[in-house]
């Protein structure tokens, strides 16, 4: 019996203590008509060796293609120490630190994480994580509506060059709460937002403006101007950022004269493998004045009975297990273990290491763009400053090109044509520090072949 330690004599003694004739008798309160005899549709058990073989086969079937796809999930080097520590049973098999005295390891780590994220984003406070970047944006929009007491509209301006899935998720999660999302067009030639697209809303009651830096096309937005526009128009500013980019880029807390109000994003670039899209983690930082509107767990430092410093869950009056229907969110268990990975990752890399990783990713993307645009029929769509992704224009539909590349073991990028038909045959590509010059050359050769 896998994972069940009971011997026959254990069972006998335990039933005798209970005074029950059989294990089956323990289920006697379930109406007989509802009881089932077996789970016919479940296969017979496999041993660890057998399931191991099956999983190896399944994994081998998908192979290890050379990856040039980003679009919200990025392949970076992860130090060996990160997952060696994360999978220690004391982190891996613990739970939410409800008993603070028996959870100081997790609690202190989360406090250190909060400190790092606040500094990285230039904000005052951080929560201990949300599910992922997309749902973090949904929570940020709901939080903005709560925090902006003077705005009555629950109207949020979102740029068209925001990761389109993030907007889908924000709409799905806020659907029951009457938020209104107005989509701001980007400037056709440059791929970024302009003051003109915002000016259509001047003087109106806007609860919040969302801006993604770098935007979904990998381009850098004039975030100072957008932050100042939001401040001048009494709207809160929600920043969606790639945390790795902040090793190089101005932190949202310093955007414009006032800075962003809420900063969210996906923490995946920090020590979290691609892993088919999850588990990743969402992060959220904000100003101290909004802390009571923030969703999710928050850790505080305090003292114990002897005056010794220690850590504990705090501001729990915001949360579902206390406030029930009046909570800031229904969020409970989320992505603690991934935050553990990110905290170790940030500690190992440090600000200087992360800056080098970010810069190398940017350099390799430039090399990729240079190599691919030498191919006939491939052009760079937007020439402005970028981080580590770029939009290419092809002379044919990207879907078929990507399929042909996949046959050659290359995951070639993200087909933008369905969500952005105005861009034509557009392909979003990405290189990180993990792509070598030879990898890039291999992609260029393959692309030249399949577009011949």
């Amino acid at each position: 019996m896998p994972f069940i330690p009971h011997t026959e004599s254990d069972v006998r003694e335990m039933l005798a203590a209970i005074g029950a004739p059989s294990i089956d008798a323990l289920f006697e309160e379930i109406p007989a008509a509802l009881r089932i005899k077996s789970l016919a549709g479940i296969p017979e058990a496999l041993t660890e060796m057998e399931i191991g073989r099956l999983m190896q086969q399944r994994a081998a079937r998908d192979g290890k293609p050379l990856n040039f796809l980003g679009a919200g999930a990025y392949e970076h080097h992860i130090p060996a120490a990160v997952w060696a520590i994360v999978t220690r049973g004391e982190f891996y098999s613990a739970y939410t630190p409800y008993q603070a005295e028996a959870s100081q390891g997790t609690l202190q780590l989360l406090y250190e994480y909060q400190s790092m994220m606040a500094s990285l984003t230039g904000m005052q406070v951080s929560n201990a994580s949300l599910y992922d970047g997309a749902s973090a944006l949904a929570e940020a929009c709901l939080m903005a509506v709560r925090a902006h007491r003077k705005s009555r509209s629950a109207r949020i301006l979102v740029p068209a060059n925001l990761n389109p899935t993030y907007l889908d998720v924000a709409r799905a999660i806020t659907e029951g709460q009457n938020l209104k999302f107005d989509v701001l067009p980007y400037e056709a030639a440059g791929g970024t937002l302009t003051a003109t697209s915002l000016d259509a809303y001047r003087g109106q009651d806007i609860t919040a403006v969302v801006v993604q830096q770098p935007n979904f096309f990998g381009l850098l937005e004039d975030v100072d101007a957008i932050a100042d526009w939001a401040a001048a128009n009494n709207a809160l500013l929600i920043a969606v950022v790639n945390p790795l980019s902040l090793a190089l880029l101005k932190p949202p807390g310093e955007w414009g004269t006032k800075g962003a109000d809420i900063v969210v994003g996906d923490g995946q670039p920090f020590g979290v493998p691609l892993s088919s899209g999850g588990p990743y983690f969402g992060f959220m930082t904000t100003r101290m004045e909004h802390v009571r509107q923030m969703p999710g767990r928050i850790i505080g430092r305090t003292v114990d009975l002897d005056g010794k410093p220690g850590f504990t869950l705090t501001l729990q009056a915001r949360e579902q297990h206390i406030r029930r229907s009046k909570a800031t969110s229904n969020i409970c268990t989320n992505q603690g273990l991934l935050v553990t990975a990110a905290t170790i990752h940030m500690s190992l890399l440090g600000a200087a290491g992360l800056e080098k990783v970010a810069a190398a990713s940017q350099t390799q993307t430039s090399a990729l763009v240079a190599a691919l645009t030498r191919i006939k029929g491939v052009k760079l769509a937007f020439g402005g400053p970028r981080f580590h992704e770029a939009v290419l224009q092809l002379d044919r539909e990207p879907g078929a090109v990507l399929e042909a590349l996949a046959q050659r073991g290359i995951v070639g990028g993200y087909d933008l044509s369905r969500q952005y038909p105005e861009l034509g045959n557009a392909l979003l590509v990405c290189a990180t520090e993990t792509r070598t010059d030879e990898d890039i050359a291999q992609y260029a050769r393959a692309l030249a072949e399949v577009t011949k």
Binding site: L305, I322, R323, T343, E403
Partner: protein, 489 residues
């Protein structure tokens, strides 16, 4: 008594020295191309430590935790069972870790096959017609469930149905979820025997009823015996039934929510299917639905056409409630649950509920024999049960929290305290099926010893714990003098 080796570890920032780093972890030659206007002026305050300093620091922090791997962890409602190492190892095969979520389907058939089979197995154990794996935790599964119920009523033009009925014993996430979905909450009481008050339910039902959210067995640790009648009443009133799968471990292979009459269910894969709790996640809150809610499942879902697997999205499920995560939810957690389910197999899965119930009923019987008071005497325990310490609180001034803290000194993680809210001074105890009898006996002996201490030297119990890295923490100070981040110097 357990004495921990590492008692304290300074903040990582105190190990930091300017210019120190784990230099083997990043490329050195890269030059930043970002124009000045966009650049960061001051580096973030991250630690500057060596690789060994980081490894030692975080290893020491880990040693300050209780966990399943180190301690009995009978935290009621959380199903802290053994997390088999194989599940972790096989979910972390390099190809699976390296798979980009948007990789072409042609390069994803192995992964998709696992996900499709997981959906099929979850349908079988719950008796539902369709499953979506995308919700990232129980609370998101609840959200998906209530959003689907809302979408169903709306699609029928039944726009007035916005009330969600929730028993007073429900998890806090239930009412919080109803609010998030734009619904109002109608709370109904439980009877003294732990069952739902059916008369109160009848009063609450009406033309505004969207549905009811139930946990069965309930958070009171007992099976809802009148579930068929409840289902009939709710359906006759035009409402739907939502099953909170927090306690699915108790009934796995014994009775199925679909057969009880539920229309929608979320499962906590990190509970019933043993994926790690990770110090607060990741979880996974897969949802299952009956026929009526199939058109509204959150996307993406994995479909099969002949021998090929493919993603189903809004083109296939046009009435979907939409996407709840950027990709497909916590894929790595789903892989772990898949491996676990394949290792248990058909009969292993039924044994889960059997031995979880055996352990819970054994502990209940022994504690009762030792003089502790069950909250629902005369009832069978499900996979968990509640004892109430109201007598100890009144007579000895030693409450449930004091017992919980003192248990830590005896080397046991405390049960869930003060939940459910309607039982005074309660401990909700869930041993799970993976614990051996000796472990349960040790816990019972500790409870008896603490009871003796409470009678002879109550101050000793009230001052606990003594052997952990910290003693009881000042939560009031934590909330009043907020210290949420470290600032240098």
């Amino acid at each position: 008594m357990q004495v921990m080796k590492v008692m304290q570890e300074p903040l990582i920032f105190t190990h930091s020295r300017a210019g120190r780093s784990a230099a083997g972890q990043y490329p050195h030659a890269a030059v930043c191309e970002v124009p000045e206007k966009f650049r960061r002026k001051q580096p973030a305050q991250l630690p500057e430590v060596s690789e060994l300093q980081a490894v030692r620091h975080f290893t020491r922090l880990s040693q300050l935790n209780f966990s399943i791997d180190t301690h009995f962890y009978p935290l009621g409602s959380c199903t802290m069972k053994y997390n088999p190492r194989a599940c972790n190892q096989f979910a972390m095969l390099p190809e699976l870790l390296g798979r980009h979520p948007l990789a072409p389907e042609s390069a994803s058939q192995g992964f998709l096959a696992c996900m499709f089979e997981l959906q099929e197995m979850l349908k079988e154990v719950t008796g539902m017609k369709g499953v979506s794996l995308t919700p990232m935790a129980g609370a998101q599964g609840e959200f998906a469930g209530v959003a689907m119920m809302r979408a169903y009523h709306r699609a029928r033009g039944d726009l007035e149905r916005t009330e969600i009925i929730v028993p007073d014993a429900a998890h806090g996430t239930n009412p919080a979820t109803a609010t998030m979905c734009g619904c109002t909450v109608v709370e109904i009481p439980s009877l003294p025997n732990g069952d739902v008050d059916v008369e109160a339910l009848k009063q609450a039902l009406g033309p505004r009823t969207a549905g009811i959210m139930l946990t069965n067995p309930s958070t009171l640790g007992v099976f809802e015996r009148r579930i068929q009648e409840v289902a009939k009443l709710v359906h006759e009133a035009g409402g739907l039934l939502y099953y909170d799968g927090a306690n699915l471990n108790a009934i796995l292979g014994k009775v199925r929510p679909g057969d009880m009459g539920f229309d929608v269910i979320h499962m906590n894969l990190h509970k019933t299917f043993s994926t790690p709790h990770g110090g607060g996640g990741p979880g996974s809150g897969a949802v299952g639905v009956g026929q009526r809610l199939l058109p509204f499942l959150p996307i993406p879902v994995v479909g099969r056409e002949g021998e090929r697997y493919r993603w189903l999205d809004a083109r296939d499920i046009p009435q979907t409630i939409g996407r709840l995560s950027a990709f497909m939810g916590n894929a790595g957690v789903l892989l772990r649950a898949y491996v676990y389910m394949r290792m248990l197999g058909r009969t292993g899965m039924q044994r889960v509920a059997e031995y979880a119930a055996l352990n819970a009923n054994y502990m209940l019987a022994r504690l009762q024999q030792a003089g502790f008071e069950p909250a629902y005497p005369g009832r069978r325990a499900s996979h968990e049960f509640i004892i109430t310490l109201k007598r100890q609180a009144k007579q000895l001034n030693v409450n449930a929290m004091d017992f919980a803290k003192r248990l830590l000194d005896y080397g046991f993680h405390a049960p869930t305290t003060y939940f459910p809210l309607l039982v005074p001074e309660c401990l909700l105890i869930e041993p799970t099926e993976t614990e051996a009898k000796e472990e349960l006996d040790g816990f019972i002996e500790a409870m008896v010893a603490i009871q003796r201490e409470a009678e002879q030297d109550p101050a000793k119990v009230k001052g606990a714990p003594y052997t952990l890295p910290v003693r009881r923490l000042d939560d009031v100070r934590a909330a009043k003098q907020l210290d949420l981040t470290y600032h240098r110097g």
